[in-house]
Amino acid sequence: MHEWALAESVITAVVDEIRLNNIRKVTKVDVKVGELQQIDIEIFRFALENVMKAYELVLDSDAVRIEIEKNILRCEVCGKTWSFDDASCRPGEDEAEAIHFIPEIAHVYIRCPECSSPDFEIVKGRGVWIEAIEGEH
């Protein structure tokens, strides 16, 4: 349930945005959840709803869209592009848990499938990210 902490960060960002832009009614919050972090979407949605209540934030139930973003890794040495859920280079359970807490730990346990380098970029699909917040003024 450290998903709660991430959900809280999303709600805080929405509340900050409401204040900053004098938003009367939030119509859309697009949240991307990067595959690499392997967030449990059900737990995350549950946490989001509960944090909303705690923050006294009322949103239409369909205003918040959560989308999983495929992860793309790109090797800085050989240029190879791949995804960590390619069966050939999946980390074990403990390793996946460490990556769940801090996605950058991928560099400890994952290697480029082409040249075995740990020096790759997490191009997409890292962790929790807000793609857009829209509202009526």
């Binding site: 902490a5 999303v10 805080t12 460490a98 400890v108 929790v128």
Partner: protein, 239 residues
């Protein structure tokens, strides 16, 4: 938009003082000062946290003899208790493995840690900093508004030259520098660190080279009995 940046202030709001132990040069005793200072403060009854941000060469867990600990997961990560200190380090996640992280990844990992760690109420959060003025230093400056700095140097010209640069940039940025601790004094060049401090910042005092320190690494009771700990208790700014 990175939502994590919006929660960091809240995560740190119940911490009275946040102190980075820094200094520019590697190997001057930053981790030793940070760890033993945190131990001493905890012993005096202060609620104390210790955050090791030297991802490239994490050392605080070795100094404190931390083994088999892991944060509890409950609405975030709760730092486990290490000898009375709430202790957070990347080694919970890396184990003994090397962590080849570029600066951009170090930044992201720091942001993640700050966004999900629930320190609770603390009198002091001590941060053990890596050498240099790269991503970690720039990020704590950017992300933690109430940061105060203690600089550690040795009397060696190699260390004081680097420390001067770090002091210059911190002061240019008008960040609070509590002062300079001179570590590993062997009689050589005594007084150089005081000269570096000059009118620029407080000279907090000197700690002699202590040949008993090495044997105390990993044993907190022994650590607190060292000459190092005793001299540190005389020169740290929270007496």
């Amino acid at each position: 938009m990175d939502p994590r940046l919006h929660i960091i202030d809240k995560r740190l709001q119940d911490i009275k003082r946040i102190i980075a132990v820094s200094g520019g040069k590697g190997g001057t005793g930053k981790s030793s000062v940070a760890s033993v200072l945190a131990l001493a403060l905890a012993k005096e009854g202060y609620r104390t946290g210790l955050l090791d941000l030297d991802f490239g060469g994490p050392s605080a867990h070795v100094i404190l003899g931390v083994e088999g600990l892991f944060p509890e997961e409950d609405k975030g990560l709760i730092p486990p208790d290490a000898s009375g200190i709430r202790f957070m380090s990347i080694i919970y996640f890396t184990g003994d493995n090397p962590a080849p992280l570029r600066g951009k990844e170090i930044s992201n990992a720091i942001i993640e840690l700050l966004a999900v760690t629930l320190w609770g109420e603390l009198d002091f959060l001590i941060i053990d900093m890596p050498p240099g003025m790269a991503d970690t230093a720039l990020d704590v400056i950017r992300l933690i508004k109430r940061m105060e700095f203690i600089l550690v140097t040795t009397p060696s010209k190699l260390a004081t030259e680097v420390t001067k640069r770090e002091l210059a940039i911190l002061q240019e940025l008008r960040l609070p520098v509590l002062g300079l601790i001179e570590n590993m004094l062997t009689g050589q060049r005594a007084g150089t660190a005081a000269k570096v401090a000059g009118d620029r910042t407080a000279f907090l005092g000197s700690i002699d080279f202590d040949s008993t320190l090495e044997h105390a690494i990993g044993d907190v009771d022994k650590l607190l009995q060292t000459g190092f700990a005793k001299q540190l208790s005389l020169c740290h700014p929270f007496k």
